[in-house]
Symmetry: C2
Subunit: 436 residues, 2 copies
């Protein structure tokens, strides 16, 4: 059964090396997190699976990797400089600052209790600002992107020309974005520095509704294919009051987090808002000429935009389970084998030197193709528990018989069943069990 | 023969979709670049190959993925706030700003020609600064990391405890870093936003020199294994006046760029400088207790730190070639198959509908395992040239005979030889030729 308390996962993640508070030795830094040995591998797997489904296995999507730093012109045209802000009020009594739209009581300060002590609301822009270049003038202003999406729009003409794609086609990107959130919260769910997996899918305007539905279906399927039970997911359509400034319709893929259903991904109909805005601001032609029909048009955009780090949190929560093995309780992460940090662990039964060469031979064979953990400390039972707890689907045990029969034992995380296979066949046997 | 002019590669890279100037529709932004459909794939391959060699195929290195934003405390302890700066002078006549240590003539302004017009030099810190949180006080100051390395040092205790590694062992990281360079130059070689591939290898102090030599050899081999001729590489040891503030000895792996030999990677003996500095500043114990010997010590660090984007530039330059095929000149990128954006292109001989289902069947089979381009426009000869120019090692051509004999033709980029193979064997045949 999935984790019902966030702390179950937060503690496991810290102890086993998935996620650490950033700069922890200096008291942490403003809800920023670092991904440890296991978390960095798992986050990479989440992104790789997104890329496999959204780019590699399709012939209508190309990837880009645009800069994080950008000039004000981009964010002026996109509307972010004007619209991407939260309303903030200050308490004139205690000087604390709050989001006006999140106050339970608009009259009473939740910090000091003063009544009607708030200043008028000011719009606080959520973009991080810095300066590039040695001279601190206005021309040096730069923003850290608050979404990867604008990278696709401003490169639209360059991509169209160099890749010779035509609508319907998409531009995908995976990378860091930054939002100066007033209230980061819920572990890696809402952080100021985060990672996105975004697709801008450019379509003929008349096909926008059809592709919107297509991507709703595709994206829901991606989560269930990778092991999240459908019962923990839902699609929720935004009300008119929730829509972003660019959207004609958005649905969120939501996951049943311990604090309730919350967003993993937004799938938005961005229409031609962005391409037209950048065309107007830059004077460049950002449209498509269809040679077959002789028609020139500005494509509409359907955008599935997922958060990589919060998606990783959802996969961890959904995979969490506790059961019993031989009458002993164990914690097990039932992660999809493509998402688990390691696909296989190689465990010599003892640290005795006689086993080491054979164990390393097995490790080398497997690590050509898989991420492999090698662990020779502690009793074998404790090592199995550790691998269960970090989600490793298969353990390969090298024992003293292995030196004679040139065979090893493969143990399955979920069934705990063990089977003997020849060392020469170990890669094939692992591939069969993992399915890749 | 490799490219001798940078423009040969810059132009190809722009035209074919490797690298675009960032925010080009707004006139570009301060030597920042975006990686297009081919460049994003190739850059990802460069990073994946580094991870394969440095993490996946070893049992003594773990990965982390730390935050880009960090508090001043980290950079105060590391010495970057004090030492990571360039000396700048202003010309009092024309108001231009220069790096004092790069002036050809310390008396005459290279911009306006004024004599002895410079101000005294001021130290200009190369870190990008921003503010995190809604209140703009000193506690909100944050820096964009100028190197990924500090992420390994401040997580040392967390990694040691959760991964149970012991020296000699390494912590690796791949990610963006930011340096407010005064003079970014040479395309993607020196940019303010760039990507690093860094390993901090922690060793017993007495073994530092041995591991330094080990990593010099290993890292040179990585470049040659991936196709850079040894004649275009050299190791250069830093003079005492060049050493970073933390280094007891550094060698650079240099590549023969069109402007001369220049750095791809620095391999530094960072000693115990960083762990000791962070231990002193934070009050945390950042050392290792060796249970076998009963000894407690602060490990020394050997750091191979490579630039991913400049390494990609080197691979492109080294791979560039011009030759003749059937009496016609062609440009070909002889990229290692693991680095080329696509490993294989599927080309239906004509756009006729009869070929489409078979061509897509072949594409689907291959794209489970490889990054595949699918191209059905223009004459087949032009399409071969395009794939040669972007470095695709194999083209698979689906022709009208394919409908009868269920076979396709595989063409080799380097030899241009063609061979017929059964569709059912196409994945195996491609794997044999690529070697993976």
């Amino acid at each position: 059964m999935p984790a019902t308390e966030l702390d179950q996962i937060v503690n496991l993640a810290k102890r086993r090396g998935f996620v650490f508070p950033s700069a922890e030795i200096y008291g942490g830094f403003r809800s920023t997190y670092d991904y440890g040995p296991l978390g960095s591998l798992m986050l990479r797997n989440v992104k790789n699976e997104w890329l496999r489904a959204m780019v590699q296995q399709r012939d209508d999507v190309v990837l880009i990797d645009a800069a994080i730093l950008g000039p004000p012109a981009v964010w002026e045209a996109s509307g972010h400089l004007k619209n991407f802000s939260d309303p903030l009020v200050d308490c004139t009594n205690c000087k604390q600052r709050f989001r006006e739209d999140k106050l339970d009581d608009p009259h009473t300060c939740p910090h000091c209790g003063a009544k009607d002590s708030f200043t008028a609301a000011r719009q606080f822009n959520l973009m991080f600002k810095t300066q590039a270049g040695p001279v601190a003038d206005a021309g040096a202003d730069a923003y850290l992107r608050p979404e990867t999406a604008q990278g696709m729009f401003i490169n639209f003409a360059n991509v169209l020309q160099s890749s010779r794609k035509r609508p319907p086609f998409g531009i995908a990107q995976v990378g860091k974005s930054f939002r100066n959130e007033i209230t980061p919260q819920n572990w890696i769910f809402r952080t100021r520095e985060f990672e996105q997996m975004e697709l801008q899918f450019f379509v003929p305007p008349a096909e926008s509704a059809k592709w919107y539905q297509y991507w709703l279906d595709e994206r829901m399927r991606w989560y269930t294919d990778l092991g999240i039970p459908a019962s923990l997911l839902r699609l929720r359509e935004h009300g008119a009051d929730e829509l972003s400034h660019y959207s004609a319709g958005t649905s969120d893929v939501e996951f049943a987090f311990p604090w309730g259903f919350d967003e993993l991904e937004g799938i938005a109909q961005r229409t031609d808002f962005d391409l037209k805005a950048h065309a107007a601001a830059s004077g460049e032609k950002l449209d498509y000429f269809d040679q077959a029909s002789g028609e020139r048009y500005v494509p509409y955009v359907v955008e599935p935009a997922a958060g990589a780090t919060r998606t990783m949190a959802a996969f961890l929560l959904a995979a969490y389970d506790e059961d019993e093995v031989n009458g002993e309780p164990r914690t097990v992460l039932r992660l999809h084998p493509r998402l688990s940090p390691y696909q296989v662990a190689v465990l010599p039964l003892s640290k005795k030197d006689t086993l080491t060469p054979t164990a390393h031979e097995v490790r080398r064979r497997l690590s050509d193709r898989y991420m492999v953990d090698y662990d020779e400390t502690q009793a074998i039972g404790r090592r199995y528990r550790r691998q269960d707890e970090i989600g490793t689907p298969l353990c390969v045990t090298v024992d003293f018989d292995s030196l004679d029969d040139r065979a090893v034992t493969i143990r399955d995380r979920d069934t705990t069943e063990q089977q003997r296979v020849a060392i020469d066949e170990v890669v094939t046997a692992v591939a069969e069990r993992l399915g890749f």
